[in-house]
Symmetry: C2
Subunit: 206 residues, 2 copies
Amino acid sequence: MDNQGVLAVISGFSGSGKGTVMRALLEKYDNYALSVSATTRSPREGEIDGRDYFFRTREEFERMIDEKELLEYAQYVGNYYGTPKDYVMSNLQAGKDVLLEIEIQGALKIRESFPDAVLIFIAPPGAAELRRRLVGRNTESPETIEARLRRAEEEAQQMDEYDYLLINDNVDCCVKELHNLIQSMHMRMKNHLSFAEKIKEEMKQI
Amino acid sequence: MDNQGVLAVISGFSGSGKGTVMRALLEKYDNYALSVSATTRSPREGEIDGRDYFFRTREEFERMIDEKELLEYAQYVGNYYGTPKDYVMSNLQAGKDVLLEIEIQGALKIRESFPDAVLIFIAPPGAAELRRRLVGRNTESPETIEARLRRAEEEAQQMDEYDYLLINDNVDCCVKELHNLIQSMHMRMKNHLSFAEKIKEEMKQI
Protein backbone atom coordinates (compact mmCIF):
# COMPACT_ATOMS: atom_id res chain seq x y z
CA MET A 1 0.00 0.00 0.00
CA ASP A 2 1.57 3.26 -1.16
CA ASN A 3 -0.21 5.51 1.31
CA GLN A 4 -0.21 3.33 4.38
CA GLY A 5 1.31 4.74 7.55
CA VAL A 6 4.55 3.57 9.12
CA LEU A 7 4.47 1.42 12.22
CA ALA A 8 7.29 2.69 14.46
CA VAL A 9 8.03 0.46 17.42
CA ILE A 10 9.93 2.42 20.04
CA SER A 11 11.75 0.96 23.00
CA GLY A 12 14.36 2.16 25.40
CA PHE A 13 15.60 1.70 28.91
CA SER A 14 13.39 3.04 31.65
CA GLY A 15 14.93 6.49 32.10
CA SER A 16 16.05 6.89 28.48
CA GLY A 17 13.58 9.74 28.07
CA LYS A 18 11.56 7.95 25.40
CA GLY A 19 8.25 8.99 26.98
CA THR A 20 9.22 12.68 26.88
CA VAL A 21 10.45 12.37 23.30
CA MET A 22 7.26 10.70 22.16
CA ARG A 23 5.00 13.22 23.87
CA ALA A 24 6.94 16.05 22.19
CA LEU A 25 6.68 14.30 18.83
CA LEU A 26 2.91 13.97 19.18
CA GLU A 27 2.54 17.61 20.21
CA LYS A 28 4.69 18.96 17.41
CA TYR A 29 3.38 16.97 14.43
CA ASP A 30 -0.08 15.92 13.26
CA ASN A 31 0.65 12.71 11.42
CA TYR A 32 1.15 10.44 14.40
CA ALA A 33 -1.18 8.21 16.36
CA LEU A 34 0.03 6.81 19.66
CA SER A 35 -0.92 3.25 20.35
CA VAL A 36 -2.10 3.03 23.93
CA SER A 37 -1.08 -0.20 25.64
CA ALA A 38 -3.19 -2.25 27.97
CA THR A 39 -1.58 -3.23 31.26
CA THR A 40 -2.34 -4.85 34.59
CA ARG A 41 0.11 -2.65 36.50
CA SER A 42 -1.16 0.09 38.81
CA PRO A 43 -1.34 3.65 37.54
CA ARG A 44 1.52 5.96 38.61
CA GLU A 45 0.62 9.38 39.93
CA GLY A 46 -0.86 11.49 37.14
CA GLU A 47 -1.42 8.62 34.74
CA ILE A 48 -4.84 8.52 33.11
CA ASP A 49 -6.70 5.42 31.95
CA GLY A 50 -7.09 5.44 28.15
CA ARG A 51 -4.39 8.07 27.66
CA ASP A 52 -1.29 6.59 29.29
CA TYR A 53 -2.50 2.99 29.45
CA PHE A 54 -5.68 1.03 29.49
CA PHE A 55 -5.49 -0.17 33.09
CA ARG A 56 -7.05 -3.63 33.28
CA THR A 57 -7.39 -6.38 35.86
CA ARG A 58 -5.66 -9.69 35.23
CA GLU A 59 -9.05 -11.26 34.45
CA GLU A 60 -9.89 -8.57 31.90
CA PHE A 61 -6.46 -8.81 30.32
CA GLU A 62 -6.63 -12.58 30.03
CA ARG A 63 -10.02 -12.30 28.33
CA MET A 64 -8.42 -9.95 25.72
CA ILE A 65 -5.71 -12.56 25.14
CA ASP A 66 -8.32 -15.27 24.65
CA GLU A 67 -10.35 -13.11 22.25
CA LYS A 68 -7.20 -12.34 20.21
CA GLU A 69 -7.73 -8.63 20.67
CA LEU A 70 -4.01 -8.03 21.22
CA LEU A 71 -1.27 -7.67 18.62
CA GLU A 72 1.27 -8.85 21.18
CA TYR A 73 1.52 -9.11 24.92
CA ALA A 74 4.21 -9.90 27.44
CA GLN A 75 4.86 -9.95 31.15
CA TYR A 76 7.31 -7.51 32.72
CA VAL A 77 8.06 -7.23 36.44
CA GLY A 78 5.01 -9.34 37.25
CA ASN A 79 2.48 -7.45 35.11
CA TYR A 80 0.94 -7.94 31.69
CA TYR A 81 1.49 -5.36 28.93
CA GLY A 82 -0.14 -5.66 25.52
CA THR A 83 -1.09 -3.82 22.34
CA PRO A 84 -4.76 -3.66 21.32
CA LYS A 85 -4.92 -4.59 17.63
CA ASP A 86 -7.82 -2.60 16.16
CA TYR A 87 -6.45 0.85 16.84
CA VAL A 88 -3.08 0.13 15.22
CA MET A 89 -4.53 -1.41 12.08
CA SER A 90 -7.19 1.21 11.44
CA ASN A 91 -4.74 4.10 11.89
CA LEU A 92 -2.12 2.58 9.58
CA GLN A 93 -4.75 2.06 6.91
CA ALA A 94 -5.85 5.68 7.31
CA GLY A 95 -2.26 6.75 6.56
CA LYS A 96 -1.30 7.68 10.13
CA ASP A 97 2.13 6.78 11.43
CA VAL A 98 1.54 4.69 14.51
CA LEU A 99 3.91 4.91 17.47
CA LEU A 100 4.11 1.85 19.65
CA GLU A 101 6.06 2.27 22.87
CA ILE A 102 6.71 -1.24 24.08
CA GLU A 103 9.39 -3.26 25.76
CA ILE A 104 11.84 -5.41 23.91
CA GLN A 105 9.99 -8.76 23.97
CA GLY A 106 6.89 -7.12 22.51
CA ALA A 107 8.92 -5.26 19.88
CA LEU A 108 10.44 -8.47 18.59
CA LYS A 109 7.00 -10.10 18.46
CA ILE A 110 5.63 -7.16 16.47
CA ARG A 111 8.41 -7.58 13.91
CA GLU A 112 7.39 -11.21 13.43
CA SER A 113 3.81 -10.29 12.56
CA PHE A 114 4.74 -6.97 10.79
CA PRO A 115 8.05 -7.25 8.97
CA ASP A 116 7.58 -3.64 7.76
CA ALA A 117 7.57 -2.30 11.32
CA VAL A 118 10.57 -0.10 12.08
CA LEU A 119 12.22 -0.96 15.39
CA ILE A 120 13.81 2.05 17.08
CA PHE A 121 15.76 1.97 20.31
CA ILE A 122 16.26 5.14 22.34
CA ALA A 123 19.28 5.15 24.63
CA PRO A 124 20.79 7.71 26.99
CA PRO A 125 24.38 8.79 26.21
CA GLY A 126 25.66 6.38 28.87
CA ALA A 127 24.79 4.22 31.88
CA ALA A 128 25.77 6.87 34.47
CA GLU A 129 23.37 9.33 32.84
CA LEU A 130 20.63 6.68 32.97
CA ARG A 131 21.07 6.32 36.72
CA ARG A 132 21.06 10.11 37.15
CA ARG A 133 17.76 10.36 35.28
CA LEU A 134 16.11 7.58 37.26
CA VAL A 135 17.21 9.11 40.56
CA GLY A 136 16.15 12.57 39.36
CA ARG A 137 12.57 11.45 38.82
CA ASN A 138 12.05 11.33 42.59
CA THR A 139 9.10 8.99 42.10
CA GLU A 140 10.67 5.62 42.72
CA SER A 141 12.26 3.79 45.62
CA PRO A 142 15.97 2.90 45.56
CA GLU A 143 14.92 -0.75 45.14
CA THR A 144 12.80 0.07 42.08
CA ILE A 145 15.66 2.08 40.60
CA GLU A 146 18.03 -0.86 41.10
CA ALA A 147 15.49 -3.21 39.50
CA ARG A 148 15.17 -0.86 36.52
CA LEU A 149 18.95 -0.67 36.10
CA ARG A 150 19.29 -4.46 36.22
CA ARG A 151 16.45 -4.71 33.69
CA ALA A 152 18.27 -2.15 31.50
CA GLU A 153 21.38 -4.30 31.70
CA GLU A 154 19.38 -7.25 30.37
CA GLU A 155 17.71 -5.17 27.67
CA ALA A 156 21.06 -3.81 26.51
CA GLN A 157 22.01 -7.36 25.53
CA GLN A 158 19.23 -7.33 22.94
CA MET A 159 19.40 -3.76 21.69
CA ASP A 160 21.39 -4.85 18.61
CA GLU A 161 18.19 -6.45 17.31
CA TYR A 162 16.70 -3.02 16.64
CA ASP A 163 16.91 -1.36 13.21
CA TYR A 164 17.81 2.11 14.48
CA LEU A 165 19.39 3.62 17.55
CA LEU A 166 18.75 7.16 18.74
CA ILE A 167 20.99 8.57 21.42
CA ASN A 168 18.90 10.95 23.49
CA ASP A 169 21.26 13.56 24.88
CA ASN A 170 19.01 16.46 23.86
CA VAL A 171 15.25 16.07 23.72
CA ASP A 172 14.65 18.59 20.91
CA CYS A 173 17.30 17.02 18.68
CA CYS A 174 16.03 13.54 19.46
CA VAL A 175 12.44 14.50 18.56
CA LYS A 176 13.58 15.95 15.24
CA GLU A 177 15.73 12.93 14.45
CA LEU A 178 12.90 10.56 15.29
CA HIS A 179 10.49 12.50 13.09
CA ASN A 180 12.93 12.59 10.15
CA LEU A 181 13.64 8.90 10.55
CA ILE A 182 9.98 7.87 10.54
CA GLN A 183 9.16 10.18 7.63
CA SER A 184 12.11 8.77 5.68
CA MET A 185 10.61 5.32 6.08
CA HIS A 186 7.74 6.48 3.83
CA MET A 187 10.30 6.58 1.01
CA ARG A 188 11.02 2.86 1.27
CA MET A 189 10.54 1.24 -2.13
CA LYS A 190 8.04 -1.15 -0.55
CA ASN A 191 5.86 1.88 0.25
CA HIS A 192 5.88 2.89 -3.44
CA LEU A 193 5.19 -0.33 -5.29
CA SER A 194 1.94 0.96 -6.83
CA PHE A 195 3.74 4.07 -8.09
CA ALA A 196 6.52 1.91 -9.53
CA GLU A 197 3.97 -0.22 -11.40
CA LYS A 198 2.19 2.87 -12.71
CA ILE A 199 5.34 4.50 -14.10
CA LYS A 200 6.46 1.22 -15.71
CA GLU A 201 3.14 1.06 -17.58
CA GLU A 202 3.31 4.72 -18.59
CA MET A 203 6.82 4.25 -19.96
CA LYS A 204 5.55 1.62 -22.38
CA GLN A 205 2.97 4.05 -23.78
CA ILE A 206 5.15 7.11 -24.16
CA MET B 1 32.52 1.87 12.49
CA ASP B 2 30.29 4.24 14.46
CA ASN B 3 31.46 7.43 12.82
CA GLN B 4 31.84 6.29 9.25
CA GLY B 5 29.93 8.16 6.56
CA VAL B 6 26.99 6.79 4.64
CA LEU B 7 27.44 5.70 1.05
CA ALA B 8 24.36 6.90 -0.82
CA VAL B 9 24.03 5.50 -4.32
CA ILE B 10 21.66 7.66 -6.33
CA SER B 11 20.11 6.73 -9.65
CA GLY B 12 17.21 7.96 -11.70
CA PHE B 13 16.01 8.26 -15.25
CA SER B 14 17.79 10.78 -17.41
CA GLY B 15 15.50 13.79 -16.94
CA SER B 16 14.44 12.88 -13.38
CA GLY B 17 16.22 15.97 -12.09
CA LYS B 18 18.66 13.99 -9.98
CA GLY B 19 21.61 16.14 -11.08
CA THR B 20 19.85 19.33 -9.96
CA VAL B 21 18.83 17.74 -6.66
CA MET B 22 22.35 16.58 -5.92
CA ARG B 23 23.93 19.93 -6.79
CA ALA B 24 21.47 21.65 -4.44
CA LEU B 25 22.22 19.12 -1.69
CA LEU B 26 25.95 19.75 -2.00
CA GLU B 27 25.48 23.51 -1.94
CA LYS B 28 23.17 23.48 1.06
CA TYR B 29 24.97 21.08 3.39
CA ASP B 30 28.62 20.54 4.31
CA ASN B 31 28.69 16.87 5.15
CA TYR B 32 28.60 15.47 1.64
CA ALA B 33 31.31 14.47 -0.79
CA LEU B 34 30.33 13.86 -4.39
CA SER B 35 32.02 10.94 -6.03
CA VAL B 36 33.11 12.02 -9.50
CA SER B 37 32.76 9.27 -12.08
CA ALA B 38 35.20 8.50 -14.84
CA THR B 39 33.73 8.16 -18.32
CA THR B 40 34.72 7.77 -21.94
CA ARG B 41 31.77 9.83 -23.24
CA SER B 42 32.33 13.32 -24.64
CA PRO B 43 31.74 16.32 -22.38
CA ARG B 44 28.40 18.14 -22.81
CA GLU B 45 28.49 21.91 -23.10
CA GLY B 46 29.53 23.42 -19.77
CA GLU B 47 30.81 20.18 -18.27
CA ILE B 48 34.22 20.39 -16.65
CA ASP B 49 36.76 17.57 -16.35
CA GLY B 50 37.28 16.60 -12.69
CA ARG B 51 34.06 18.31 -11.56
CA ASP B 52 31.32 16.69 -13.64
CA TYR B 53 33.31 13.66 -14.75
CA PHE B 54 36.84 12.55 -15.27
CA PHE B 55 36.80 12.41 -19.06
CA ARG B 56 39.08 9.60 -20.19
CA THR B 57 39.96 7.85 -23.43
CA ARG B 58 39.02 4.18 -23.82
CA GLU B 59 42.72 3.28 -23.41
CA GLU B 60 43.02 5.24 -20.16
CA PHE B 61 39.76 3.78 -18.83
CA GLU B 62 40.80 0.23 -19.62
CA ARG B 63 44.09 0.77 -17.80
CA MET B 64 42.08 1.86 -14.69
CA ILE B 65 40.05 -1.37 -14.98
CA ASP B 66 43.24 -3.44 -15.21
CA GLU B 67 44.79 -1.66 -12.22
CA LYS B 68 41.62 -2.23 -10.14
CA GLU B 69 41.29 1.49 -9.51
CA LEU B 70 37.50 1.36 -9.99
CA LEU B 71 34.85 0.34 -7.49
CA GLU B 72 32.54 -0.60 -10.34
CA TYR B 73 32.23 0.16 -14.01
CA ALA B 74 29.70 -0.45 -16.73
CA GLN B 75 28.95 0.44 -20.31
CA TYR B 76 25.98 2.62 -21.19
CA VAL B 77 25.05 3.75 -24.71
CA GLY B 78 28.47 2.68 -25.98
CA ASN B 79 30.57 4.42 -23.32
CA TYR B 80 32.31 3.33 -20.15
CA TYR B 81 31.31 4.82 -16.79
CA GLY B 82 33.09 3.94 -13.55
CA THR B 83 33.70 4.95 -9.94
CA PRO B 84 37.28 5.64 -8.81
CA LYS B 85 37.73 3.74 -5.53
CA ASP B 86 40.18 5.82 -3.46
CA TYR B 87 38.05 8.93 -3.17
CA VAL B 88 34.98 7.04 -1.93
CA MET B 89 36.83 5.03 0.69
CA SER B 90 38.87 7.89 2.14
CA ASN B 91 35.81 10.15 2.44
CA LEU B 92 33.69 7.49 4.14
CA GLN B 93 36.46 6.85 6.62
CA ALA B 94 36.70 10.58 7.31
CA GLY B 95 32.99 10.56 8.21
CA LYS B 96 31.74 12.23 5.04
CA ASP B 97 28.56 10.99 3.42
CA VAL B 98 29.50 10.06 -0.10
CA LEU B 99 27.05 10.58 -2.95
CA LEU B 100 27.46 8.31 -5.93
CA GLU B 101 25.36 9.20 -8.96
CA ILE B 102 25.47 6.12 -11.14
CA GLU B 103 23.24 4.10 -13.41
CA ILE B 104 21.41 1.03 -12.33
CA GLN B 105 23.93 -1.66 -13.27
CA GLY B 106 26.63 0.15 -11.31
CA ALA B 107 24.34 0.68 -8.33
CA LEU B 108 23.62 -3.02 -8.05
CA LYS B 109 27.34 -3.81 -8.29
CA ILE B 110 28.07 -1.34 -5.49
CA ARG B 111 25.54 -3.07 -3.25
CA GLU B 112 27.35 -6.38 -3.80
CA SER B 113 30.65 -4.96 -2.56
CA PHE B 114 29.07 -2.60 0.04
CA PRO B 115 25.96 -4.11 1.60
CA ASP B 116 25.68 -0.98 3.79
CA ALA B 117 25.28 1.28 0.76
CA VAL B 118 21.83 2.89 0.56
CA LEU B 119 20.32 2.68 -2.92
CA ILE B 120 18.04 5.61 -3.73
CA PHE B 121 16.06 6.01 -6.93
CA ILE B 122 14.81 9.45 -7.99
CA ALA B 123 11.79 9.44 -10.28
CA PRO B 124 9.67 12.16 -11.87
CA PRO B 125 5.97 12.16 -10.95
CA GLY B 126 5.17 10.40 -14.25
CA ALA B 127 6.40 9.43 -17.70
CA ALA B 128 4.79 12.41 -19.47
CA GLU B 129 6.64 14.78 -17.12
CA LEU B 130 9.89 12.94 -17.89
CA ARG B 131 9.42 13.57 -21.62
CA ARG B 132 8.60 17.25 -20.96
CA ARG B 133 11.80 17.68 -18.97
CA LEU B 134 13.97 16.00 -21.59
CA VAL B 135 12.46 18.12 -24.37
CA GLY B 136 12.73 21.24 -22.21
CA ARG B 137 16.48 20.82 -21.86
CA ASN B 138 16.91 21.91 -25.49
CA THR B 139 20.31 20.23 -25.57
CA GLU B 140 19.52 16.92 -27.17
CA SER B 141 18.31 15.71 -30.57
CA PRO B 142 14.89 14.04 -30.88
CA GLU B 143 16.75 10.74 -31.47
CA THR B 144 18.71 11.11 -28.23
CA ILE B 145 15.52 11.93 -26.34
CA GLU B 146 13.85 8.81 -27.74
CA ALA B 147 16.90 6.72 -26.80
CA ARG B 148 16.77 8.13 -23.25
CA LEU B 149 13.07 7.36 -22.94
CA ARG B 150 13.58 3.79 -24.14
CA ARG B 151 16.46 3.46 -21.67
CA ALA B 152 14.19 4.82 -18.90
CA GLU B 153 11.62 2.17 -19.82
CA GLU B 154 14.29 -0.51 -19.34
CA GLU B 155 15.53 1.03 -16.08
CA ALA B 156 11.98 1.23 -14.69
CA GLN B 157 11.88 -2.57 -14.80
CA GLN B 158 14.68 -2.67 -12.20
CA MET B 159 13.74 0.27 -9.99
CA ASP B 160 12.14 -2.07 -7.43
CA GLU B 161 15.66 -3.22 -6.53
CA TYR B 162 16.36 0.11 -4.85
CA ASP B 163 15.90 0.63 -1.10
CA TYR B 164 14.22 4.03 -1.36
CA LEU B 165 12.25 5.98 -3.93
CA LEU B 166 12.05 9.77 -4.05
CA ILE B 167 9.46 11.34 -6.30
CA ASN B 168 10.90 14.61 -7.53
CA ASP B 169 7.99 16.92 -8.20
CA ASN B 170 9.56 19.82 -6.33
CA VAL B 171 13.33 20.27 -6.16
CA ASP B 172 13.44 21.95 -2.73
CA CYS B 173 11.28 19.26 -1.15
CA CYS B 174 13.26 16.51 -2.82
CA VAL B 175 16.56 17.95 -1.56
CA LYS B 176 15.24 18.11 1.98
CA GLU B 177 13.84 14.58 1.81
CA LEU B 178 17.09 13.24 0.43
CA HIS B 179 19.08 14.96 3.17
CA ASN B 180 16.78 13.67 5.93
CA LEU B 181 16.89 10.18 4.47
CA ILE B 182 20.69 10.03 4.31
CA GLN B 183 21.06 11.53 7.78
CA SER B 184 18.57 9.01 9.15
CA MET B 185 20.79 6.23 7.84
CA HIS B 186 23.40 7.30 10.42
CA MET B 187 20.98 6.02 13.06
CA ARG B 188 21.08 2.47 11.74
CA MET B 189 22.03 0.10 14.52
CA LYS B 190 24.96 -1.12 12.44
CA ASN B 191 26.39 2.41 12.58
CA HIS B 192 26.27 2.30 16.39
CA LEU B 193 27.71 -1.07 17.28
CA SER B 194 30.64 0.40 19.22
CA PHE B 195 28.25 2.56 21.26
CA ALA B 196 26.07 -0.49 21.95
CA GLU B 197 29.08 -2.45 23.19
CA LYS B 198 30.18 0.45 25.37
CA ILE B 199 26.81 0.90 27.07
CA LYS B 200 26.49 -2.88 27.65
CA GLU B 201 29.83 -2.82 29.47
CA GLU B 202 28.89 0.28 31.49
CA MET B 203 25.61 -1.35 32.57
CA LYS B 204 27.53 -4.20 34.16
CA GLN B 205 29.54 -1.74 36.27
CA ILE B 206 26.74 0.49 37.44
